[in-house]
Each structure stands twice: as C-alpha cells, then as structure tokens.
Symmetry: D2
Subunit: 223 residues, 4 copies
C-alpha cells in the first residue's frame, strides 16, 4: 500500500447477529468491541450494524420489497473492504438472525459486473466471530465460512475467533470475562492482522478471474 | 509473477481421501483429474496422494512413530503451494480418512518458525473437492474449510467444488457423468483460478503477521 | 392401544418453515402433503402451521411479549402427539425460520411439571422433513434431531425424510416431481409408520423418568 | 417387564472411539465409566469396546475381508439392547474413528430380515457421549444421531450427554474433573434412564413396521 492509503483508509463492517434488539445488552457486541479496537489501532475504520434493529425480511434476494430494510445493509456490505459476521450461539449453532443474513446475501451472486462477471464482494475479505456460554462455535464458524466463500469473500489464515465456556448453562462473554480469555484474544488478533494483510493484498492485486468467461469454458467442458 | 516463475512453477497437492485402496476405482480420483487438468493448463505442477495407500496412524501429532507414514505426506504438504483436500461423501459428511487427515494436520500448528511463529503452511492456499452420489457436500466442505483456515491456509473466493446426485442411492461421479455436469465444472474452474491468483499474491506479498509477537499482545490484553 | 383410541385419535403437527408467506407456493408444503396423506390413511389427525404467516419474534423464551405470536404455536405443539419440523434447504442448511423455531422451543425446557419435572413434550414423538433443490438435507436433519431430542421428543428409527436434486441450481420438490421419487417416498413411509408406533407405545407406557429426582442425584454425584 | 427379566437382563454396549490404543489413558473411557456405573445400578449389563484396539478396515460393508475385525464388533452390536457411541472431540467434530464406525454400520441396512425387512438393529435404543477439552459436542452428537436413526436405532429424550471446557486448549474430562460437572452428570442420568425406558418399551412392544411391504407401497406411490 502506498502513501495514498491514509486518504483511502480501509474499513471493516461488523454484522451483529444477536437475537436481542437494542438497547438490550449484547454479549456479541462486547466481543465485537475487542476486535474493533484492534482494527482502530491499525488505522482501519469500523462500523457495526445490529441486524435485528432493522426490519430484515426472510428471503433470498437482495430486495424483498415492502418493509424490507436489507438493501440498506447490503449497501454497507458493498462499501466495506472487510466483513465480519458476528453471531451468538443458540442451540449449538449460529443464530437464526445470522442464518437469515447469509440467506439474504445469496442475492449478491446475481449481481456480477458487466466486465468480468465478478460479484461486488470479490476482493473483500471476511472473518467470523462467535460467542456463547458453551459449545457450538466451530459448527457456527464453519457454516458461515462456506457461505462467505461462495458469496465472493476471501478468508485469511485463522478467519475466525470465538469464546465459549464449559458444557451447560453458564456465564456468557461479558460475565465470564471473555475479554480476558487469552485463547480468544489471541485468535482475534490473528484474525484481524491476517484479514488486514489480505485486504491490502487484494487492493493492490485484485482477482483477475473472469467469471463470465469461465462460465463459457464450463459449458464447453460439459458438452 | 515475473519471468522467473517458469523456473519456480507453482504446485498443487491433492489428498484423495477415498476409503478404497488402489487399484480400486475411485470416483474422487476422477474428479481430481478434472481439476488437475485445469491446473496443468495453467502451468501448475500437480501431485496426488491417495491417503489410504499409505499407513497413516490415528493421532494428532506430526509423527505418531512406529509404522506411521504420515511424515512422508506432511513433507509433500510442506512442499506444495496449494493444497486440495478431496473427499467422497459417506453418511452425509466427509470420509473418516479426510477426518483423520485434518486430525494429523493439527501437528502443523506446533511447528511455528523461530522468526515470527508462522506455521509452515502460512502463505499456502487451500481448496476442497467433494463428490458423492447424494447429499452432504456443503457439510463436508464447511468442516474442512474451518480446519484448513485454522491450520494456516488461506481460502479464496469459492474455495470448494462438489458433485452430488439426487436423494438416495444412485450413480456416483464417474457413472453419473459428473465430469459433464456444468455447475460442478464451473465451481471447479472458479476454485482453481481463484486459488492460483491468491497463491501468486501470497508468493509476492506474504503474510507479515508476527504470530509470536501477537501471542504476547494477547497475554497483555488478558491480564 | 385400546378401543377408546378411536375417540382419542392421535395427532401430528407439521411446522412448515418456508421463508415465503402465503399464498406463495411452498415446495415444503407439497412435501408435507405427502406425509399428511399417509398419516390420514392411518387415522391420524393432521395440522399444518406455516410459521412465517404468523409474527414470531426472535428469542429463546416461550413468550417474547409484544407482537409475539409464538405462544399460539406453542399451544399447538403441546396439543399434538407427534411433531414434524419441515424445512426447505437454504445455503446447505435448515432455513432461518426453522432455526428460529428451535430457538423459541428452548422455552419448553423451563416448563417441567410439578410431579416429576418432565417437560410438556415428554412422550411426544418427532420427525423431520427437508426439501431442497440440492445438497444439505442431512446437515439440516441432524441439527434438528439434536434440538428435538434435548427438548423432550423421542425420535424413531428413520426419523427423517428428504428430497434433494443434483448439485447446483435446479428444480425444487414440486417441479422435480419429488412426490414420485421412490427413495424419498420410502423414507417418508418409514418415518410415518415408525413415528406412529412409538407414539402409541409412549401413550400406553410413558416415560417414568423423574427429572426432578435425577437433578438431585446429579448434584450428589458432582459434589 | 416381568419377573423373567432377571434372567434376560438388558445390556448396553459402549463403543469407545478414542484415537489412542490401550493402554494409553482415554478420557472417553473415564466418561463411559460414569454412565456404565449408572446402568449397572439399574441392573443393566455393560460392555465396552475400544475400537482402535481392533483392526477395523475403512469401508462401508459389514465385512471388508482380509484383516478386518469389524465383524466381531458388529456381532456385539447385534447382541446388545442399547448402543452408545462415545467419541472424543477432535477439530470440533466426532473423531475419525467414530466416523469410521458409522461408515461400517451402513452394512446393517443391507441385512433386513426375511419376515418384514427390519434391520437387526430395529428395537435397539441408542445414545451418544462426547467429551473434549472444548467446543464441538453438539456437532458431533447431531451427526451421530442422524446416522444411528437411519441405521435402525431409536433415540430417547435427551439421547446425548457431553463434557467440554472453555474455548481453546485446556484440561480434558479426567483432569478437568468432568465426573463432578453437574450439567454433564445430569445429562448422563437423563440419557441412561430414558434409554432404559425406551428399550424396555420396545422389548414389550416392538416395531411392527413392515419395511418390505412399505418398499412396495413406495414404488406404487412413485409410478
């Protein structure tokens, strides 16, 4: 990155997929704050959207019309350089809100550009944050990684970080002092630094994959 | 990449995680051949290891001693620029052999270098190929993506490709003409081209993440 | 079952977890119709609730207050002998609506009776139906099975049935003629017959597990 | 159950799916011991097989010939009334050994009896035990539940129990005092008591499902 970077600050968008509307306390929000601070120190602009504070309709297109506020969120996704899906664990899996988000993100794959068919997310980097009082972080992370990879994002080394406690009911991130849990902080630092490196890399040297041309090759191969 | 690339050809290693030893027909092998051909045309050196043809011990270290032949395979992983885990689907999930492979790859995370603690896999790119007669490809892919990301690999846009048929018993990849299935070929082409772009990127501009230093920062954050 | 059973017809409740509100065509609805017909022929009363046609709030209690219509649905769950969660596949997994449903069902576990602490769902039998144009049925089914088992339901042999087509975009259940797919119909028949046997069994001979007493034993074991 | 039960004691078989051969310490074994004790007090005969102590070949039939010792294990599965798959967590998922076991159990579905086509496992009840130092128990349990349900087993209320610790490396079951963890002990007690109830139920009133006849019905439905 050159000196001009200071005027073109990189940005990260966090989608908080808690089930609880503001102003209820969100453990996921507290977890996001830790990563956000690290990004800020690295001169990255940060933004957080708490998805349930907006009316997002169930569906799998970029605009479900009516009261749907997803288009506003999608605009922010298109504006960022890095995206982090942050979800609490419920029933050992990502939240229904996090699932709803990736369903809506399927619309992205229909928006390839005219030049080479790349979706608007090509050259953006993604990460995943999962917090719960117990078990489920890797299942949630894995599912989200697959979705983001197919939807146009690149995933760095250690693309995820999580906090979970012992089996059964117990304190969640804030009460458990998750912000002082070494393993989790280490994962978060690795994720942030690796995301940033990759985002800079793709800024300088973006994918040249011609999605439209490859579709034609695939057709020829399949005859 | 510069002209010197011709002498430093990039390489991809496929780990075929079929349950069946040679010389039994492997559908996964036929699927690998398609991706391998695409890589070859892009001037990438290819190598395939059929894991069950070697004695790999159950365990989670880089060398389980005794008859264990994993160290030979690990050496090939360390030698490649790109790694593809290719697995058949059994019971709607990756094969036990594919699971055994990622368990053994946990040893990688103990082998950080002296300079910055990066594992030997940092700056390598990974992909996933899954074939089955039916259902299970995304579950298998997602689980493997998480493993590879934590174990030091970077995952490009569309890091996976798969073939599956209709619900229930039915023809597998070869018999079903999977090599003529447009969707699958398109996914394979995207995966290969994106992997290659990212591998070149990381060759020119490798991660600078100081894993050892971040560990210290994580400790300070956690006090 | 005795002669009095004719006046105490067994009942099954289907929760259709499509993303689409009525009157949009729901493939999941067409799939449910097949199972419903089989149940009817076996003299079982059937009822279907299309969850998105009701305002269900995100949350994990039995009543999230305000506009929440979950309590009405929960009432129907408590009234049935057998419950079937039917979900379409999106992103290789159960729908966000299906996830929202099991999150809300967590409230059930707080409603143990005074006598022995059993939840209101003890002695009810559950099944799962999944339809998609491709891959994801087993992942969706497995996740739902775990949830239902913990939330008080018993799962018979072959507790699930599904329809999926080949890898990639393609016709869904209705267009694909899923109602004529032998494997799927066979799975559906097995599920229905086994659910019914088990429901009758538990009617005659319900669980005697004293949940409250076992909690005390667990405490003693853990001292 | 009648007085004759004393001569027809019910039995449970545990399959320990640790990666480590005897005599290495197995946390999973220590966890099994807790459930085994509870079963013994309820007058149930118990047996444990540590799978890796036997040569089990990769495959998906009941006899892979050669050195394969799976047939001996399958014989014990057929002899038991209740089966528990017990697996450690590696990479947030069931062990490769546990995956290998369910792959081999696919052979069961080809062994329907002459009378009604029921597999030898019909009327057996199953449970799942998962232990790890951290995250992964529900993912592992869910996958195994689906497999066992399709392979002929019935799953009671709360068919699984698990122990996991906080995110990251940490003490496993034995060192962490998992045998004193209230939540886990409570889950284990519930699983055991519910399994036993269901096993007795199915002894007295076994499934009458005519698998062979339903196959014919499915064919007619699919024409």
């Amino acid at each position: 990155m050159t000196a001009t970077d200071t005027t073109n600050k990189l940005s990260v968008l966090f989608l908080n997929c808690t089930l609880k509307q503001s102003p209820a306390t969100s453990n996921t929000d507290a977890f996001i704050a830790v990563a956000s601070n690290i990004f800020n120190k690295l001169d990255v602009a940060t933004e957080t959207i708490r998805v349930v504070d907006h009316h997002v309709s169930f569906g799998n297109t970029s605009d479900e019309k009516g009261e749907d506020e997803w288009p506003k969120i999608l605009e922010r996704i298109y504006a960022c350089d890095m995206l982090i899906i942050a979800t609490p664990i419920w029933r050992g899996d990502r939240s229904s809100v996090a699932k709803m988000v990736v369903e809506r993100m399927d619309g992205i794959m229909s928006e390839g550009n005219d030049e080479n068919g790349q979706y608007p997310t090509f050259n953006k980097v993604a990460g995943i944050m999962v917090d719960g009082n117990e078990d489920g972080a890797k299942k949630a992370s894995a599912s989200i990684m697959l979705d983001l990879s197919e939807q146009g994002f690149t995933l760095p080394v250690n693309a995820f970080t999580y906090y979970v406690g012992k089996a059964g009911p117990g304190p969640s991130y804030i009460e458990a002092g998750g912000d002082k849990h070494f393993f989790t902080n280490n994962m978060t630092l690795l994720m942030v630094h690796n995301m940033l490196h990759l985002a800079k890399n793709l800024k300088v040297n973006p994918y040249r994959t011609d999605v439209t041309a490859l579709k034609k090759v695939a057709k020829q191969m399949s005859e």
